[in-house]
Amino acid sequence: MLGRTAQNLFWLSRYVERAENMARLLEVGYRMSLTSRREGGASEHLVSMMRAAEVDEAFEATGRQADLDTVAHYMMFDPENPSSVYSCLLAARTNARSVRTAITIDMWESLNAGWLEFAQIKPRDVRGAKLLGLLSWVKQLSHEFRGALLGTILRDDGFAFSQAGNFVERADNTARILDVKYYVLLPRAKMVGGDLDIQQWTLILRAASAHRSYRHVYHDRYKAHNIADFLMLRPEMPRSLIFCARYIEETLDSLADIYGKREGCQEAAAKLRAMVEGTNMETIFAHGLHEFLTEFIARNNAVSESLSASYNFY
């Protein structure tokens, strides 16, 4: 496989995953801003969601006021925002076009049809309920693409590169959501959270599509400790750090098997997983949640960089 093909497959899946995460973050920001009763609260929620998406500074640089319309436009349609849903889908499709021969017709058709539909939408028509509808459509598109991929792609090196892209992006996203809100997850003297805490916790869970599954795992009301545990250390949660880290390591190990040789990226993946393996929230809190998440994000980036060095992306 060409190094460039591997690179395109990696980024194709990464961008589709990112589009989905952007839609989810925007949905959360939207809901929170609607229910915020405090003066300026809506804007704060939106900005913190943009921080999780790492686009808050770029948005500020545009000089626009953060309100529902401006933020929705920026995260959804703005070509200047490299992480907007528009930019992600365009980048995904561009990567897909470059590797038409390495992806299946089903993968191409789901992405291409989705892109063509998205490109038809006029941003100014998307307000209120229409926005929510469009956000759930973006998630559907991502699910459909992933379904097409899982159902049709050969389980060879190409599959491994696409999975690595998908899960490196997801791990990054979950870690960022947690990091933006880490202070509401810290243990406090008072065990029961107030309304504001509950609101923040819901936001975090929703941003990871975890507000329903939380109940299935904990059979309990929202608690900061559980929420952090769920999104970081529960292996059954498919967006948790441990799930992603294990899957990334497994995927890269499979590449080493296919190619009969271990490279730097397998070591980097092992280092990532080691962070979340055999530990618990008490230990993590004791060493500092924010520090932990910062380190996790850095190690996750290292996996991505070392993958591109190991397999001749350029």
């Binding site: 460039r4 470059s98 397999y311």
Partner: protein, 473 residues
């Protein structure tokens, strides 16, 4: 030829249906109202979903468009096809022999059959190719011969495309779409298949691998990348024949051999079906500013370590100025009379002919010698007085830069348009492969000028395509 009513491929002059179209005409009659409208919109959806697009340079609506597809197939009888394919094969063999000669002993020039100046000072002549021995002596492996029809028995070759002819993916996808849209038609009419083209392409490419390759040769399709107008086709063909689709930066030359950069390191490449123009394939030999090519590729080719398909320098055989000599070329190398006619062409360098051309410009077609894709040409009868004057000035300024031909009354085929079914002008590009043998896919790509009365069929100028059926006996 010229001012008569164009030949209608479906109907005789008395309005009755010509034999090859009989079953189709009946089928069309049976279709309920709106059936064709529905087919037409289904077709559009099929093509868009598959991502079969082409880019129109200079178009503001973004870079990708779906080429219009007409749902009414064009039909060629088995007998007509036998005649055509014989003529095409003859032409392709002669032109390859001509290329071998031009890049070796140049007998045809010594014999004075073609003016030396016309070849040696032609920008399409590639001196770097002199003395080079391509595998099997073949230069043009993939050819698209443009043919027009003006009567029941009258075909003309408009152009021999020997560089990197495009459009074959449309031929294949048009058939695919047609089989989805009207499966019942195929059960009534026996149509020669086209879908073995990718396999034949692969065989052709394998057959011209360098002699020192052991085992199955590694084949790559070299594309300028996703922004090229024919990118869809490049990826389609690579996919269909199981070849690696590469861009320039994916390849490199080391020790006179060509390699691809793979996830596990370099891998040797033996045959390159390049869809990049000669000038751009190797910045060390040709244009130094080329970002598309592979430095050192030409040296690897010269050393016999890789085969380039088509060979560089084939343009000298499909140059519009050399075109007039093709009947001569066929006689010289094969000792045969040309089976297919050339369109009579006026030589503007000759004063007498030029004066006649300038006086009659409104009836003529003017083409730039190195133009293509419908750019840089003028069709007299459908152009304005101002355009006539403009081209007169151009011809006077540079008579050698233009060829002039009579306006042919291109045949028409029934075509589905807004007003229903109406005749539209068509041409035909059959695709030819030449490796260890000559293989011609039955039919080819029919291009149709969708605008009423228009004679320009290029997709960049509002043309569409039709599925082309060669009937089986």
């Amino acid at each position: 030829m010229g001012d008569t009513t164009p030949f209608d491929e479906m109907h005789n002059a008395d309005g009755s249906v010509r034999e090859p179209y009989r079953a189709l005409a009946q089928w069309l009659d049976e279709q309920p109202d709106k059936a064709l409208t529905l087919m037409q919109s289904d077709a559009e959806a099929i093509f868009r979903k598959l991502g079969i697009t082409f880019a129109v340079y200079g178009s503001e609506e973004g870079t990708e468009k779906v080429i219009p597809f007409d749902v009414i197939p064009r039909i060629i009888s088995a007998m007509e096809w036998r005649k055509l394919s014989k003529g095409i094969e003859q032409r392709v063999r002669a032109l390859n022999a001509f290329l071998y000669d031009i890049y070796h002993r140049q007998e045809i020039l010594k014999a004075g059959r073609i003016p030396e100046k016309l070849i040696l000072q032609n920008s399409a002549f590639c001196p770097e190719m002199m003395g080079l021995e391509p595998a099997r002596g073949v230069y043009a492996h993939i050819i698209g011969t443009d043919i027009v029809r003006v009567g029941p028995d009258e075909f003309y070759v408009l152009e021999d495309n020997l560089r990197t002819p495009s459009g074959v993916s449309y031929m294949l996808e048009d058939r695919e779409a047609m089989m989805q849209l009207a499966p019942d038609l195929f059960s009534r009419i026996k149509v020669a298949p086209v879908d073995n083209y990718p396999e034949n392409l692969r065989r052709t490419l394998e057959s011209v691998a360098p002699a020192n390759v052991s085992g199955a040769p590694t084949i790559a399709v070299l594309t300028p990348g996703i922004y090229n107008s024919a990118y869809f086709e490049h990826s389609f063909l690579a996919d269909q024949m199981g070849a690696q689709l590469c861009e320039g930066p994916d390849l490199f030359v080391d020790g006179g051999k060509v390699y691809m950069r793979t996830t596990t390191g370099p891998e040797r490449v033996d045959v390159i079906y390049r869809r990049i123009d000669d000038d751009y394939i190797d910045p060390l030999t040709f244009r130094p500013d080329s970002m598309l090519g592979v430095p050192g590729l030409f040296d690897a080719y010269r050393a016999g370590n890789v085969t380039l398909v088509n060979a560089p320098g084939t343009g000298i055989a499909d140059d519009k100025a050399v075109y007039t000599y093709v009947p001569e070329i066929i006689e010289f190398y094969l000792g045969e009379k040309a089976l297919l006619n050339n369109v009579p062409t006026y030589n503007c360098v000759d004063e007498e002919e030029r004066n006649w051309v300038l006086a009659n410009i409104g009836d003529l077609v003017v083409k730039e010698v190195h133009g293509s894709g419908g750019y840089g040409m003028m069709v007299g009868p459908t152009s304005t007085k101002a355009q006539h004057a403009e081209f007169k000035r151009k011809i006077e300024a540079r008579p050698d830069n233009y060829i002039v031909q009579p306006t042919l009354a291109l045949s028409t085929c029934p075509t589905y348009v807004n007003a229903g079914i109406a005749p539209r002008h068509v041409d035909l590009r059959p695709y030819v492969l030449m490796g260890e043998e000559v293989r011609i896919t039955p039919g080819g790509l029919t291009r149709v000028a969708l605008k009423k009365g228009s004679l320009v069929v290029n997709s960049s100028q509002g043309g569409g395509t039709k599925d082309t059926w060669v009937l089986e006996d």
